[in-house]
Each structure stands twice: as structure tokens, then as C-alpha cells.
């Protein structure tokens, strides 16, 4: 699946998007945040406060307990500040 990062999450991770293949036991958005955090210092820094991170699956907002199977695109970003 494709993962996209925005704003300071993108800056901390160091890339805007990438393709990942998480193991089968990574079922939810919260699981995925945990798995990504274990991939290295930049990820650990980006996701150090998981409660602050917002997520979208296929361009719609989701909660941390959302199941990721079948997702084409998952995005992680800080609370939005548009408008």
C-alpha cells in the first residue's frame, strides 16, 4: 500500500510518500503507526505522540481503530490548520 505524509509528519519522516508492506498482524491504523514507529529514528520522532496524529484511508478521515486491509492509500498528518 502507498503511504503519504504531510506537514511536520512529512518533514520528520523525511519522505512525502512511500510504498510499504506491513506484516499481516498490522490490522488497524493504530497498529500501523506502531509498526512505522519501529522502522527507525525518523519514524519514531514523527509518531512519538500517536494521539496527535490524524489519518486518512483512501482520502477520507478515519479513526485509529480503522482496519487497513484493502486500503490503497493511507495518509498521516497533524491536526489541520486550513481555512
Amino acid at each position: 500500500m502507498r503511504v503519504k505524509y504531510f506537514a511536520w509528519v512529512r518533514e520528520r519522516v523525511g519522505v512525502a510518500e512511500e510504498t510499504i508492506e506491513p506484516p499481516a498482524d498490522v490490522r488497524t491504523v493504530a497498529d500501523l503507526i506502531g509498526w512505522l514507529s519501529s522502522r527507525g529514528e525518523t519514524y519514531a520522532h514523527a509518531f512519538e505522540k500517536p494521539k496527535v496524529i490524524r489519518a486518512a484511508i483512501d482520502q477520507a478521515h478515519v479513526k485509529p481503530d480503522a482496519v487497513i486491509s484493502g486500503a490503497r492509500e493511507i495518509a498521516f498528518f497533524p491536526p489541520m490548520t486550513g481555512g
Binding site: A56, A75, M80, T81
Partner: protein, 155 residues
């Protein structure tokens, strides 16, 4: 009559008067037009800023604003709706966002515009970064914006 919202996510500036004219031109059934323009301030928390840079999530920005536009059209008797949100570098005094609502009477136009702005603030995937003498930093979300959006939730 079904109403289709006009939604544009663009780097270029917009002209509010021109957008109002596009909604109302040639019509005599519209009785109220409410326009909200969001403009870049020259200071943030008392500190002068040089500019804002808005990052957005292409695709989702259009989709998310579209979902809220559809909800506004289903909740209020609107005759026209235009939403424009800019991205990229925006200097103090420049436009950031525009919401134009048209309806037969003022209440629907006021309420729908306020509803849309409250949701744009908290749910549209845009992030502001400020530039100042001290460097650049991401603007933090505000709790009162979440509270403003929550009051529109229907139980």
C-alpha cells in the same frame, strides 16, 4: 432544482466580487448572498510574519470539501455555493479562502457559510506554516476551532 457546488483548490488568487457575480448573474430568485473571505494576517500571536505557506493533500482536499458542500446543500435551501481554497505561499493581506452561499433568505446563507468555514478549519487537509524573522514553523491547531465545528454535529 439541484444545486452543484463549485469547488476549486488553487494556487492563484481569486476575486470575491467575480465569484458572487458568477453565482447570481442573470438570476432573480436569489434573495441573499453571504461571502466569507479568509485573509492572511500580518502577525501571529503578536509576532509579525512575512508569509504563510499552505500545504495541502491533493485529491483529498477536493473530496473532503466536496463532502461538506454536499452536507451543506442537504441541510440548507441553498441556490448556489462556491468554495475556493488557495495553497502555496500567501503574503499578509492576500486571500486564503472564499465561501459564497446563496439562498432565498439570509438565515440559510449565513448558517451554511459558517458551517462550512468551521469544518474547513478542522477537517480540510491543509496545513499552514508561518515565515518570520525567527524562521519557519507550523501553526498549531486550536481547540476552539474543534469546538466551533462540533456544535454543528447532529445527534
Amino acid at each position: 432544482m439541484s444545486v452543484t457546488a463549485t469547488i476549486r483548490i488553487q494556487e492563484a488568487d481569486f476575486d470575491a466580487a467575480q465569484e458572487i457575480a458568477a453565482l447570481t448573474g442573470g438570476r432573480t430568485d436569489i434573495g441573499a448572498v453571504v461571502t466569507f473571505s479568509g485573509i492572511c494576517r500580518g502577525s501571529e500571536n503578536g509576532e509579525p510574519i512575512a508569509a504563510l505557506t499552505l500545504e495541502h493533500y491533493p485529491g483529498m482536499a477536493e473530496a473532503e470539501i466536496g463532502r461538506h458542500a454536499d452536507e451543506a446543500l442537504s441541510r440548507w435551501p441553498l441556490q448556489g455555493l462556491t468554495i475556493i481554497h488557495r495553497f502555496g505561499r500567501i503574503a499578509p493581506g492576500e486571500n486564503i479562502v472564499l465561501v459564497v452561499t446563496a439562498s432565498p433568505h439570509r438565515q440559510a446563507a449565513f448558517e451554511a457559510a459558517e458551517f462550512l468555514m468551521d469544518y474547513l478549519k478542522t477537517n480540510a487537509p491543509f496545513w499552514k506554516r508561518e515565515e518570520s524573522e525567527k524562521g519557519t514553523s507550523w501553526i498549531e491547531a486550536r481547540d476552539h476551532d474543534d469546538a466551533a465545528a462540533a456544535r454543528w454535529t447532529r445527534s
